[in-house]
Amino acid sequence: MSSVGTLRFAVIAIMVGLLELACRTGLIGPTVIIPPSAMVESLWQILAEGDLTTDILSTFGNVLAAAVLSVVVGFVAGLAIHPLPRLRGALEPLLASYYAIPTFMFYPLFIVFFGVGNRAIIAIAFLLAVVSMVTSTLTGLDRIPPILRKTAKMYRMNRVSTALLIELPATIPHLFTGIKLSVAYAFIGVIASEFILSGAGIGYSISYAYNNFNNRAMYGLMLLVVVAVTTVNMVLHSIDRRFQERSRR
């Protein structure tokens, strides 16, 4: 492990250790936060008993669907907008202020359009995630060295081949910023939507545990989300770093 990695691990270990100490000594009461070791125990129990497996799979399935949809649609939309400077000029201020609008306030509309259930959840998460992918794609396309498009012309490549074989791989280092954000927004969108739009999923289960004063289950599920998001992000980050190293010019 690098020295930065060791330091990062040490900071996390110290924070977790301090929380454990504060909980075990009664500085923080068990009705507020349970000790991290108890969270791990609870998570293990949840996974071993399997009562919430369907909810967990439902959440991860929805996150995957929303993330994949937003990455694909965001990339294609970015690709379509990029060669149209007037359209881009009209859209860019809207895209820039998009995240100032709390998407969740439109949830009644989503219920009207999609009903209560996974489709509405995926739609909200998709809308939350897609714009970051569009803007990252536009930035990535802006940064492709013009010489690569000239080279594509020399190979007599058509628009589709140029997009797939030159522009897509050349923008991947930039797209990864969008992919990472899209995945993060997909998690936020799905879990937050499950609180209000669903009778299943990790978000719903956390809400259910909270309403029933079941702190152990609530914190166990929270830990599951934190571990899942961190793992996914670390994997994406490591792939991203590899691409960044390769793309140095």
Partner: protein, 285 residues
Amino acid sequence: MMEPAPVTSATEPAAGATEIHARLRGITRVYGGRGGAAGLHALGPVDLDLRRGEFFSVVGPSGCGKSTLLDVLSGLVPPTAGTAEFEGRPITGVPDGIGVVFQEDASFAWLTVQDNIAFGLRRAGVDAAEIARRVAHAIGFMGLRDFAKAYPAQLSGGMRQRVSIARTLVMRPRLILLDEPFGALDQQTRLLMGDELLRLWRETKATVLLITHALDEAIMLSDRTGVMSARPGLFIDIVETGWPAERDSRVVSDPRFGAMTARLWTQLREESLKIMGNQVPSSSH
């Protein structure tokens, strides 16, 4: 001291080597200028005959349209006026048989050296065994054997330029256009790359057109060197070097080399001063 070889025109056939490989007639390129606005007259009218198998260099002041000339010849940019032909056929897009090496790093960062070199062959649908054979030959020829599986980011600027040359070479172009391919390299590497370029030219028997800023490079490498005026670029002189085909960078020690380079510089100095907006100092200074 020996006299430089005689100056000829860009379209004047030389004895013994008269087959025209590419021909430009009245090529003019104006950028912009729509809606009644005056455009930027970048090039021409230019006439040029490239003889099959010759090594032709183009020198000229910055912004004189050298790269535009190459873009027109490669079919990347249509001329505003005039006709361009390659092997007797009009150039209306990128023709088969023309390869270009650009000044900028055009290697694909996401592909290894060997995949970079194989890229065009795969696009052209060449069979796998033939691709492997040609790529192995190009890698060996360009001295990239130890770097076949490396990514461009792991290579120096000179090595990356070799990858670009190898990538062009495997397509077996009959006309190779080089747009200041060694512009970013140090002088020593440039000289050595020049030798490699001559070796490549002899082996492939291709016609080569080299755009360069370096007068010594142009004279050292070429059979003929065309001097372009300040924008809009026109050929104001063609210098025939008279070097044998079996030459290398040691021609710089030939007395004719200095005389020809000086001749180019005399003309280019005037043209460059025009661009800078200065008066040409009198010869007494």
